[in-house]
Symmetry: C2
Subunit: 220 residues, 2 copies
């Protein structure tokens, strides 16, 4: 059984409500496919948006960075709620009229108050979740953070509660009268392509490429 998130005035779609979803599995699947989000926050009373890496750990979104990071510090202040969006473009939709051109996409929007993870065990686990979110299988192979790195990283969590997904997964929707026009119409799919791994110049030549790199993919 899937869990339904509770709609709020901010997450409820005003128009084309059928494109919205409050299904936690739908939201999670979109979050799990990506690793870069756009974080909107207030700075001197004005809106700012910064792209940043994220991970999902259970029912929380995890952000991290330098303790000097203006955005992260701002998000920690009580009453300074963030709005975060994640977006995947799936296809260009080429209609017979300019007006009906569109794109197919899946997106999530999340409103939440961030909280710093201060407990050392929880913080280390969140750092592991970040690495494993971006490159599953990586954590066991790399040197874990030392004390200086650990202290030099600010880690925040934001509850995935006030969130919703918005999806367009349709074909071309043309006016009846335009169907006779001679121009091509259809979808041009797009996706993220992962290329050939490029070993670091200082890597020992006999170091095998791990399967999690050579077979890297984002679950869809």
């Amino acid at each position: 059984m899937t869990t339904q998130l509770v709609p709020t005035p901010r997450t409820k779609l005003k128009r084309r409500a059928q494109r919205g979803s409050f299904d936690r599995e739908v939201v999670n699947a979109i979050l799990d496919e990506g690793f870069v989000c756009s974080v909107a926050f207030l700075h001197d009373g004005k809106p700012c948006v910064i792209p940043t890496l994220y991970a999902r750990g259970g029912d929380f979104l995890i952000l991290h960075g330098s303790p000097a990071n203006r955005m992260l510090r701002s998000l920690c202040e009580p009453g300074h709620e963030a709005c975060i969006s994640v977006f995947h473009a799936d296809a260009l939709v080429l209609a017979r009229s300019a007006f009906h051109h569109s794109i197919n996409y899946r997106s999530v929007v999340l409103y939440a108050q961030a909280e710093e993870i201060v407990d050392p065990d929880e913080k280390l686990e969140a750092m592991r979740v970040v690495v494993e979110h971006v490159v599953p299988g990586r954590w066991k192979d790399v040197r874990a953070p030392n004390l200086e790195e650990f202290r030099g990283t600010l880690v925040l969590r934001l509850p995935i509660v006030e969130a919703s997904a918005k999806i367009r997964d349709l074909g071309v929707i043309d006016d009846e009268a335009d169907l006779e026009l001679g121009c091509w119409a259809g979808l041009l799919p797009l996706s993220t392509r992962f290329g050939t791994p490029q070993p670091d110049a200082l890597l020992r030549a006999d170091t095998p490429v791990p399967a999690y790199v050579s077979g890297y993919t984002r679950a869809r």
Copy 2:
């Protein structure tokens, strides 16, 4: 000769300033490669971010949508500045330590007050620019907007003046002491892949796929 945009306290990088660029050509190239931006705006005094399609027309960013679109209406209000970001991920950077993992990317951030394009000629031209930005060559083949569609589209322009680019285009940067670790390190490049065009089910079978669709690419 390239034009330099004037840095402001908001667009000047506080840390790692060498990753920033105020070169208009650099900014334009990043904007021209993409077509989806994240728009941050204020709603009831709180920050919101919504992904939306954009186009670049000269020194302006163009947004469009329904006149009922809350975000677009909000951006038109005097004093309601938008912050817009565009982001391209280029590679995952896998270091030998968890801490030095990173991503290579190119991004642009823009602060601007939006203005509705009301002059009919300018508005139609902006609509053409939007279609041509996303699918160059498309406009001449499709039915232009009729009066109802024209009136039913709100088109905004935002001057690309207070803007900057931020770029990471580096290899793995590991601590000297970690170079002896046996794990693989390097870059995993990523890019957008455009797939096989899928003709609309109602398309006449003898309709050729235009070269701008079969050979679709985003200039890099």
